[in-house]
């Protein structure tokens, strides 16, 4: 479920991410966009996206392991640990940008 929700978050974010990057061709609008991203709320959202990316990455690794290797017990503990690692990555990013 976490894997799916983080996937949806990334799918919604990616088009916006690409649009923002394409703005770098237009200096004036890009500057305005960069000023907008300086707000703490936006930074919090960015950290949330890093968190979503980490969750989706680790959840994806779990699926690839379950499907392709003989490794099928203790899943709940691994999933919890993966969530914890993802949270730490997201939090570390938040500390960086704030």
């Amino acid at each position: 479920m976490g894997h799916r929700l983080s996937g949806i978050a990334l799918a919604v974010f990616l088009p916006l991410h690409f649009l923002a990057l394409a703005l770098s061709l237009e200096a004036v609008r890009f500057e305005a966009f960069l000023r907008w991203t300086d707000v703490p709320v936006v930074k919090l959202a960015e950290a949330g996206l890093v968190f979503a990316l980490a969750v989706h990455f680790l959840g994806g690794l779990r699926i690839l392991f379950v499907e392709n290797f003989e490794w099928r017990s203790n899943q709940l503990r691994v999933a919890t640990a993966a969530g914890g690692v993802a949270a730490m990555v997201g939090f570390a990013f938040l500390l960086r940008v704030l």
Partner: protein, 244 residues
């Protein structure tokens, strides 16, 4: 009969069809009481119109599965003391299946998908041929062994998220069965079976949530069987042996 403990269980049981409702009953608590014992008590002493299904009472036939406090279980081998929450029990028919009446779910979709997954042995020999010798330590035989104790109770099917979300999904039991047959070299239906489990509702739809593995009363690992089917079918697809 085991002795009464003197306590009372508050049991709410699903009554009616798909649009039914829960109804409450008070049942005397007893030592070593199973959930099936509770349901039987209600039918014998409180309301003889209660409908439910059971046969062997010893965990072999797979007919008594119900939803107990939100989780699918085989009721004949489930002790009340292990699952009741403060003397409360909530018993419903299996999820992901139509309700016939009360605690009896319609098992037809479950068995139809068993057929769709080609869960039927296709013999290569007749009764006039000698019996094929299969050593117990052959890898394929060992792999099949891990999945053949399925009793068709439907617990995995009722507990599966993918079944709930995707009406076409064949489900853990049917796919587990298909995997055991893929390891039977006396079977002649391998390529049709592989094609059948590689469609939209086949093994690749599984999300590996592992609820089936968690809930299986026989401690089988359908997720593991499905994962191996995924690999087998993927290899066959990449070699061009099956279409999509």
């Amino acid at each position: 009969m085991p002795r009464d403990t003197g306590d009372t269980l508050e049991v709410s049981i699903w009554r009616g069809g798909q649009d039914g409702a829960y109804q409450s009953y008070s049942v005397p608590s007893r030592d070593s009481q199973t959930v099936l014992d509770v349901v039987t008590y209600v039918q014998r002493y409180i309301d003889p119109t209660l409908t439910y299904r059971f046969a062997c009472r010893v965990g072999m036939c797979g007919s008594c599965a119900m939803t107990v406090n939100g989780r699918p279980r085989w009721t004949c081998r489930t002790h009340v003391s292990k699952v009741s929450k403060g003397g409360n029990l909530k018993i419903a028919p299996l999820s992901n299946l139509p309700v016939i009446k009360d605690l009896a779910a319609d098992m037809r979709p479950f068995f139809e998908k068993w057929q769709e997954a080609k869960g039927v042995f296709e013999p290569t020999k007749t009764r006039h041929d000698p019996v094929e010798a299969i050593r117990p330590n052959e890898p394929a035989r060992v792999a099949a062994d891990e999945g053949i104790e399925c009793i068709n109770c439907g617990v995995c099917y009722a507990g599966c998220d993918t079944v709930r979300w995707n009406a076409d999904y064949l489900g853990p039991a049917a796919l587990n069965r298909a995997w055991t047959l893929m390891n039977d070299r006396r079977d002649s239906g391998q390529s049709q079976r592989l094609a059948a489990i590689s469609t939209d509702g086949g093994c690749h739809a599984c999300h590996s949530h592992q609820s089936c593995q968690e809930f299986c009363p026989q401690s089988l690992n359908p997720t593991g069987s499905i994962a191996q089917l995924k690999r087998l079918a993927t290899k066959a697809y990449l070699r061009g042996e099956i279409g999509s």
